[in-house]
């Protein structure tokens, strides 16, 4: 229309329209989808997390209010069996047991302090060790448990928590388990009848060297008690040693010293020890019957922990803990350690550490199992094991 000058003042430089290459679209769309998926997954994870926290809170709540028969199923049935039939030759039955029929003080005292030594139940001889539940169950739980057992196999009735509290106070300083059926019958209810006599083993004289290392350390090194506690009860991530098998402790000290069990804290301490000192320390801690100080503190799901410990998880190829560590986690000397009443921080940490060896040590059992446990399961099982009564002290552990 108008005539153009040689230079168009109004001229705007422009890029000719070029099509955006297809790969750019591809990447953009893929990224957008990815982002949407991630956002969606995050929101679900958030919801799952909230649900899991709620479940954990419920599990804790449930633990406080568990019925007596549920407590029995989780705490007692591994030995006495769900139907109270016991194990022929090893664990006395509860069905048709005079100890269950007897004065309620009997069952409460046995639960509080445990029992060790010969006992005759329903005409059969037993000579074993029942753990003390006094340090892991409160009066209320013990009352519910004792009530359930007496209602199922005994005269029935209800045991009041105040009755348990009174019995606990009455024998607060006892510190050792009841010595077989004879002491129970004599002290609590003669109606139980004749029981075999208890012959205590001649206790070995105290190993002063081991005692000194445990309390004062060796040549300026750390004493065991500085971390593991005065009674070997452990704390936080430091394991409980009391009631562990002597052979196992000695073996682990050797493994720390030669590096086959890598541990920067234990290595310098263990390297100082001679073979006889390792053995002495093992026997010292194996003989300590300290109450449990372990408490569930990792917010693990106790029901899941109990499931793993008692039954395992066949869908994930996890055998139960107790299938190797013994029916109550008391260990099977010398191959498998006691895991009952272990400090949960230690158990979970040790499982995580073992999982790291799964690739480098094919065929090793615990690394393979630990690698199949996720963090939630490790916390669950560690917290459950912490609620178990400590392994009874016995000379038989290292008999083989």
């Amino acid at each position: 229309m108008s005539k153009r000058g040689p230079v168009d003042e109004a001229y705007e430089p422009y890029e000719p329209r070029r099509r955006v290459p297809l790969p750019v679209y591809w990447v953009a769309i893929a990224l957008a989808l990815w982002g949407a998926l991630t956002l969606w997954q995050d929101s679900t994870a958030d919801r799952t997390g909230a649900r899991e926290r709620l479940m954990e809170a419920n599990a804790l709540e449930r633990r406080q209010t568990m019925t007596g028969s549920a407590l029995f199923a989780e705490r007692c049935a591994t030995c006495h069996q769900a139907d109270g039939s016991g194990i022929s030759g090893a664990i006395p039955p509860l069905a048709s047991s005079r100890f269950v029929q007897a004065d309620p003080r009997v069952i409460v005292q046995i639960l509080l302090h445990g029992i060790t030594g010969p006992i005759v139940v329903d005409g059969d001889d037993f000579n074993g060790h029942m753990p003390a539940f006094g340090s892991v169950l409160d009066d209320d739980q013990l009352a519910r448990l004792a009530t359930a057992v007496r209602r199922t196999w005994g005269p029935g009735g209800t045991i009041d928590p105040r009755f348990v509290a009174a019995e606990r106070a009455r024998t607060a300083n006892r510190g050792i388990p009841w010595s077989g059926g004879a002491e129970i019958a004599a002290a609590l209810d003669p109606a139980i009848g004749i029981q075999p006599a208890y012959h205590p083993l001649a206790s070995a004289s105290a190993d002063t060297t081991a005692l000194s290392i445990a309390r004062n350390g060796k040549s300026g090194g750390w004493p065991c008690a500085s971390c593991h506690g005065a009674n070997g009860e452990g704390r936080d991530g430091v394991p409980r040693l009391a009631g562990q098998s002597a052979d196992y402790i000695a073996g682990q000290l050797l493994a720390f010293a030669n590096g086959s069990r890598p541990n920067d804290i234990m290595r310098p301490v263990a390297s100082q020890l001679s073979a006889s000192e390792r053995g002495g320390l093992g026997r010292l801690y194996a003989g300590l019957a300290s109450p449990s100080t372990s408490r569930s503190e990792l917010a693990g799901d106790l029901a899941r922990g109990a499931e793993l410990a008692l039954y395992g998880d066949d869908r994930r190829n996890l055998p139960s803990c107790f299938s190797c560590h013994g029916p109550s986690g008391f260990g099977v000397a010398p191959s498998t350690p006691s895991i009952a009443a272990q400090q949960p921080g230690y158990t979970a940490g040790r499982l995580a550490a073992l999982a790291r060896f799964a690739r480098s040590r094919p065929g090793a059992v615990m690394p393979a199992i630990a690698a199949r446990l996720n963090d939630t399961d490790r916390r669950a099982v560690a917290d459950y094991l912490a609620t178990l009564p400590p392994s009874p002290v016995t000379a038989r552990k290292d008999a083989r």
């Binding site: 422009y14 000719p16 329209r17 099509r19 297809l22 790969p23 679209y25 591809w26 990447v27 953009a28 769309i29 893929a30 957008a32 989808l33 990815w34 030995c79 069996q81 769900a82 139907d83 039939s85 016991g86 194990i87 022929s88 030759g89 090893a90 664990i91 037993f126 000579n127 074993g128 060790h129 039954y311 395992g312 066949d314 869908r315 190829n317 996890l318 055998p319 299938s323 190797c324 013994g326 029916p327 008391f330 260990g331 099977v332 000397a333 191959s335 498998t336 094919p362 065929g363 090793a364 059992v365 615990m366 393979a368 199992i369 392994s391 009874p392 016995t394 038989r396 552990k397 083989r400």
Partner: protein, 341 residues
């Protein structure tokens, strides 16, 4: 109008042509984007989809099966029978005391209370009976089969009653109730994945008990003991079962045959680390374990040599062979009855 038409860069093509091109570009872009996204997901999941492509089950491909969780055992009298069956399975020496002549329980070989695949799980056994068995040359009901378990694996000849539970004993009914429940919703008439023991081909080098002794020392002895007698806990309760000697299964048991033992070992041992031994190691360990003396075959009437012909021909077994100057199959002395189980 003219000048615009002169510039090809801003010349507008026909309207529908533009739309056609944009649509095509859009389709390419979205398709490509989706493909790239799916590819990325597959890479992330390490081709997790691959397995699903073959999922339509062919007729003769074994089906996998998962038994119901224990919490689903029903209440009432049926549940009571199932629970008692499970108690017998787990605690055989107490619940079926008159008929058990060793320190084993059903669970010793049928792991996880008879649930674990490749350790002769009971859900798979339940759906494969009645069955003809060459072992006794007749059609076997589950009760017949269980009678065999008690006779051989549980060594009933050494039990207080001297034999397996009599026909019709409630022990059979309760065990069967438990198996039946384990097999809830299991398909019948088809092969189930994990049934029986793993069929393990004999490697080129065969089996060798001396190699087996070394495998045993390294991988088995820490739980089952150098002497193969297993271990007991502080109460004398057997935790790790004895593998030979008077307190183990007798010469008539399936586990005394090397192919069964090797398959069991390969898939399940060491407990919790199954399938870590090589086939060769599994066969050799089986050879070491099954070339030790154990209670005699209860079917034996004449000499061991006669019994080989009668019942052990064609088996992969050390029965009737002489090892270190000892004729295997001669049997063991009955253990002292004060034994603990």
């Amino acid at each position: 109008m003219n000048d615009r038409n002169e510039d090809p860069a801003i010349r507008e093509p026909a309207h529908d042509k533009v739309r056609g091109r944009n649509t095509r570009t859009g389709i390419y872009a979205i398709t490509g984007g989706l493909l790239l996204f799916l590819f990325a997901i597959m890479v992330r999941d390490e081709f997790a989809f691959r397995g699903r492509e073959n999922s339509p089950p062919a007729a003769n491909v074994p089906l996998s099966f998962t038994p119901p969780p224990m919490s689903k055992i029903p209440d009432g009298p049926e549940g009571a029978s199932i629970r008692h069956g499970m108690a017998i399975f787990e605690n055989t020496g107490t619940e079926a005391k008159p008929f058990v002549g060793n320190q084993l329980a059903c669970r010793s070989c049928h792991l996880d209370a008879g649930r674990k695949a490749d350790s002769a799980p009971m859900w798979a056994a339940w759906v494969s009976y009645p069955q003809y068995r060459a072992k006794n040359k007749k059609m076997n009901t589950m009760e017949d089969r269980l009678n065999g378990c008690f006779s051989y694996s549980m060594n009933a000849q050494g039990s207080p009653s001297g034999g397996p539970p009599p026909k019709g004993d409630p022990i059979y009914a309760d065990l069967e109730a438990y198996f039946h429940w384990l097999a809830s919703n299991a398909p019948t008439g088809t092969k189930l994945k994990g049934a029986g023991f793993l069929k393990l081909k004999l490697p080129q080098a065969g089996y060798d008990r001396d190699r087996g002794r070394a495998v045993y020392a390294q991988h088995c002895a820490s739980c089952h003991g150098d002497d193969g007698q297993g271990r007991t806990d502080i109460n004398g309760r057997q935790v790790f079962p004895p593998l030979w000697g008077p307190r183990s299964y007798n010469w008539g048991a399936g586990m005394a045959q090397l192919n069964n033992a090797a398959g069991f070992i390969k898939a399940n041992m060491p407990l919790g680390a199954g399938n870590t031994l090589t086939d060769q190691q599994a066969w050799d360990a089986a050879a070491w374990i099954d070339s030790q003396e154990r209670p005699k075959d209860p079917r034996q009437k004449g000499t061991v040599a006669e019994n080989v012909v009668a019942f052990h021909s064609g088996e992969k077994t050390f029965y009737g062979k002489t090892v270190d100057g000892h004729l295997l199959g001669s049997g063991t002395e009955a253990p002292v009855q004060a034994s603990r189980r």
